[in-house]
């Protein structure tokens, strides 16, 4: 196998972004992919910083970032790289026909599948919730047989957020698909088909109209192309808003497909089902990665390696027993406050960050792992995304933001 300039390990948001940016730097890139990443879970919106240290809503992500502690990945990535990364991401998805709205200056709001509001930074237009703030009537559309989207619950919570002076109506449409429970993906396919679209439109048209806003689950087509969304907005003559909800997330998959399409255009080699298992190290540098393929182990040589294996959720880092952390590919040092009194908050939905969610690889400003005295462990290995220590992506709403911006910085290094 011919040697690459950069090998990227992991195919989540961070891995795909790192691959794209590296290729634009003129590098020969190989991406080792394994599993699905969190795309099918994470709704494909880019949170940068939703809440500050005290749990207060951040109105302007750029100001919020300024105030995070020094141990936070954003401080290591630096504002310049963050701004460039956002620009880069927006251009990439726009070029693919799936433009995202939002900027670092002003927080965006979306409507969740239970009717609460969620702050986020960049998102597809179809998910932008603030467009319905001025509507006189909110029409909430459920789907018969679709779990996890309950119109009454959406109505109850949305009315609390947007005020009781609006009118809230609920309807439930029938897909005429029988015999099984449906997921948003099934319904999105139905809406995308000519027949399904007609049936869908016929059932909601009477309720929609000027001045109203129609709230739906993530069902406006499976593709990141706005085709169904634009058509429906026109046919209904009003605002249509998608919501975030239980996996599988149609929009997460849209984003993945869009990024993979961009990767393909840049000729990046993506090796499927290649689980990185071992690093070959010479001195303080890695020369190659051994990855298990379907049939046998392959060796991937490169000058530079980017580790985007997704932390605890995706198996990049494990902790079999308390304190026994393991970064699975390079054995990099992991830091975390694994002390019984602090490791897990008594409250699940806590007003404090959860220590276990902040555990990760300790890195310096170049995003390379460092030992306890601050010395870089492996000179040509960069760590990105959920693998990083020092932030709680759930508490502060920053998951895809850290993933994108750290990947950008590592790729540029």
């Amino acid at each position: 196998m011919s040697k690459s300039d950069v090998v990227i390990i992991g195919n989540g948001v961070a891995g795909l972004m790192a691959a794209l940016v590296s290729a634009d730097e003129g590098k020969k890139v190989t991406l080792l992919s394994y599993g699905a990443g969190t795309f099918p879970l994470n709704s494909g919106v880019i949170d940068i910083l939703g809440y500050d240290e005290q749990g207060k809503a951040v109105n302007s992500p750029i100001t919020g970032i300024d105030q995070v502690p020094d141990s936070h990945p954003y401080k290591k990535i630096g504002m310049a790289a963050i701004e460039d990364a956002i620009k880069y991401f927006k251009k990439t998805v726009a070029d693919e026909g799936f433009a995202y709205t939002g900027s670092l200056k002003e927080q965006q709001w979306l409507i969740t599948g239970i009717g609460t509001l969620k702050p986020t930074c960049l998102l597809p237009e179809s998910l932008q919730g603030s467009r319905c703030f001025d509507a006189s009537e909110i029409v909430i559309v459920g789907v018969k047989g679709l779990k996890d989207f309950y119109v009454d619950m959406v109505k109850e919570n949305l009315a609390k957020e947007l005020g009781a002076d609006k009118k809230y109506t609920t309807i439930t449409v029938d897909t005429y698909i029988t015999g099984r429970d449906l997921t948003t993906r099934d319904v999105a396919k139905w809406v995308e088909s000519d027949k399904g679209y007609g049936e869908f439109l016929a059932q909601i048209k009477g309720q929609a109209g000027a001045g109203k806003a129609v709230i739906v689950p993530q069902i406006l087509g499976t593709k990141g192309d706005y085709v169904v969304y634009k058509k429906l907005s026109k046919d209904l003559g009003c605002t249509v808003v998608e919501t975030t909800g239980m996996p599988p997330s149609v929009n997460g998959i849209r984003l993945r497909d869009v990024l993979l399409s961009a990767l393909k255009k840049k000729g990046i080699r993506v090796v499927e089902n290649a689980k990185a298992e071992k690093a070959i190290v010479k001195g303080d540098k890695v020369t190659a990665i051994e990855a298990g393929g379907e049939v046998r182990t392959q060796t991937y040589e490169a000058d530079k390696f980017i580790l985007a294996t997704g932390g605890f959720y995706s198996g990049g880092i494990t902790m079999r027993d308390f304190g026994e952390y393991k970064e699975m590919v390079f054995g990099l040092p992991v830091e975390g406050d694994c002390v019984e009194e602090r490791w897990v908050n008594k409250q699940l939905f806590s007003d404090k960050k959860q220590a276990f969610s902040m555990a990760g690889v300790r890195v310096d400003d170049s995003l390379r792992a460092v030992d306890e005295s601050g010395n870089v462990v492996l000179k040509n290995v960069y760590v990105v995304g959920r693998n990083l220590s020092g932030y709680d992506f759930c508490f502060e709403h920053s998951g895809n933001g850290v993933a994108l911006t750290s990947a950008y910085k590592a790729a540029k290094a």
Binding site: W109, T116, M319, C394, H397
Partner: protein, 541 residues
């Protein structure tokens, strides 16, 4: 204000209390049971669920061993759908004391507990996950018992004889005149209303809280709550109950329940029975002992950790903890303390709850000039759903939930649920995939007057008790059930808060084991509820 009246009021909705309610009702005595929270709030669900054969007590306490084997046989008969007749195994591994075997065999024989020696090969064939360091194995008639279901079926049985019960009704005061109990004051913990109930006899069956209840009547009753910690694994590691064949100590027993296995337990004397906290150290101690019997124990996913306290009665000057007697006492406070109209029952085991009730009621009934004989061993707790009914139901049930639902629900409710499934096909949606619970069942249970929050529905349906630990069904059940509750429990006033509380209760069980695969699950839960649903609310600040 007096709002209710009963000849006997039983305090405590655990196995002991419900057993007494059934017994009294069957003898024709007018009785009312009150429970401060939901039924089976204490030791009777926070326990191991072993239907003892008695073999565990064969060496030290043959009296208890004999009671166990007798009751074991009775409960298998009257409570078929609550018992898993797994049979049990007593095993020794390398290092265990071989001299313990003979006295144990002798004790079993004398107590009437059958034992069968298994060759190492046979034992490993029956239970392939057992340690290769296995030395000896015996089979005994242990089983597994579902504490929630058993208790509820006792209540249903009592209700058929006129017995009544109230949940979320806490005894807060005992009203005494002339050294006689006249009435009690209770608080409705849902509506917060306080009122009086008149009674002739007050029965303190509050388990580990019995000491506190006695205090309300100005009496002293030395109950020493002894906390035990248990670990639930996400696999059926073993089909038999597996006991370590040695002097009873911590982490000795594995009990399979449906698709899970529970390992336990420990024994720590605590001042307050409300304390159900667990620590890393307790978990590790159990695990360390457990790997002796199942060497791959650390590779299984832990679902949750929980704890409960035993109602150990300690006569003055005696020892508490594991060395305290597992027997029980009946205290007639008229004789002991000169207070007429109050009795306490304390101690014992789940396995012997029926016998305890029988002996207790044999003392109580004559006080009311009632001479009826105990009949609780003669009659099944609930009628079973017939095969014909199950067969007819199959066409409306999604996937293979019929048997589970039939045993969970019992004849009457099962009939209601099947009718709904037939008439309203949209209610066939499976809201809890782990335990196969349909929307129709959840709606049926939620509409009962004793349901005030999703957790109540959980305890009656097993919703959220399986592999996903509520990750997927929390939103579904909250959205479907919360609007059906007539009165809502504190902090569960709408579907969002109810959902959060439900997940919080599950969280408590997983925090002590936040390592290994549990970390991944936790990131998933947080991602879904904090990010995708932003349950903490939007523009807060």
């Amino acid at each position: 204000m007096v709002k209710d009246k009963a000849t006997v009021v039983v305090v405590g909705g655990g196995a002991t209390g419900v057993g007494i309610l059934r017994d009294l009702s069957m003898r024709g005595i007018d009785a009312l049971l009150i429970e401060k929270l939901d039924m089976v709030n204490g030791a009777s669900s926070r326990y191991h669920g072993l239907l003892h054969s008695g073999a565990r007590y064969a060496v030290k306490d043959q009296e208890a061993a004999k009671e166990c084997i007798k009751e074991n046989t009775i409960l298998r008969r009257i409570g078929k759908s609550c018992v898993e007749a797994t049979t049990g195994m007593f095993v020794q591994v390398e290092g265990d004391d071989p001299d313990f075997v003979d006295p144990w065999l002798k004790g079993c024989a004398e107590s009437g507990i059958s034992t069968r020696e298994l060759s190492k090969e046979e034992a490993l064939r029956l239970e392939p996950n057992l340690s290769r360091k296995l030395k000896v194995a015996y089979e005994v008639p242990d089983g597994a018992i579902d504490g929630f279901r058993m208790s509820w079926q006792n209540l249903q049985s009592a209700a058929r004889y006129g017995g009544r019960y109230k949940t979320y009704t806490e005894l807060i005061k005992v009203n005494i005149e002339n050294a006689t109990v006249k009435s009690i004051t209770v608080r409705d913990n849902v509506t917060k209303e306080e009122y009086d109930i008149e009674c002739e006899i007050l029965v303190n069956a509050a388990g580990p809280w019995a000491g506190k209840v006695a205090e309300l009547a100005g009496l002293e009753c030395n109950v020493s709550p002894s906390k035990g910690t248990l670990i639930a694994f996400n696999q059926r590691i073993t089909n038999h109950v597996v006991n370590r064949l040695r002097k009873p100590s911590n982490g000795d027993i594995f009990v399979p329940h449906g698709s899970i296995t529970i390992l336990g337990t420990s024994s720590i004397t605590i001042p307050d029975p409300e304390d159900t906290s667990t620590s890393w150290e307790e978990v590790e101690e159990l695990m360390k002992t457990g790997v002796g019997v199942f060497e791959h124990l650390r590779d299984y996913r832990i679902l949750r950790v929980f704890a409960g306290s035993r109602p150990l009665y300690v006569p003055k000057g005696a020892e508490g903890g594991r060395n305290a007697s597992r027997g029980f006492v009946t205290i007639d406070h008229e004789k002991e303390d000169g207070l007429k109209g109050m009795m306490t029952i304390c101690g014992g085991k789940f396995t012997t709850y029926r016998l305890m009730a029988e002996k207790f009621c044999d003392v109580l009934a004559p006080k009311l000039h009632n001479t009826a004989k105990c009949r609780t061993a003669e009659e099944d707790l609930v009628p079973e759903v017939s095969e014909a009914e199950k067969k007819a139901a199959r066409q409306y049930f999604p996937s293979y939930g019929v048997n589970l639902a039939a045993t969970r629900l019992g004849v009457e409710k099962f009939g209601d649920v099947v009718k709904t499934l037939k008439e309203q096909p949209e209610t066939r949606e499976v809201l809890c995939e782990c335990e196969n619970v349909t929307m129709a069942e959840i709606q049926r249970i939620a509409a009962e007057p004793t349901s005030h929050c999703v957790a109540d529905v959980r305890r009656r349906t097993r919703l959220g008790m399986g592999t996903c630990q509520g990750n997927y069904c929390a939103i579904r059940s909250a959205a479907v059930a919360n609007k059906l509750f007539k009165n809502k429990f504190e902090g569960c006033s709408d579907s969002l808060s109810d959902m959060k509380n439900f997940l919080q209760a599950r969280w408590k069980g997983i925090t002590p084991v936040m390592a290994g695969k549990t970390l991944r699950e936790a990131e998933m839960t947080r991602g879904m509820y904090e990010l995708l649903f932003n349950v903490n609310g939007g523009r807060r600040g």
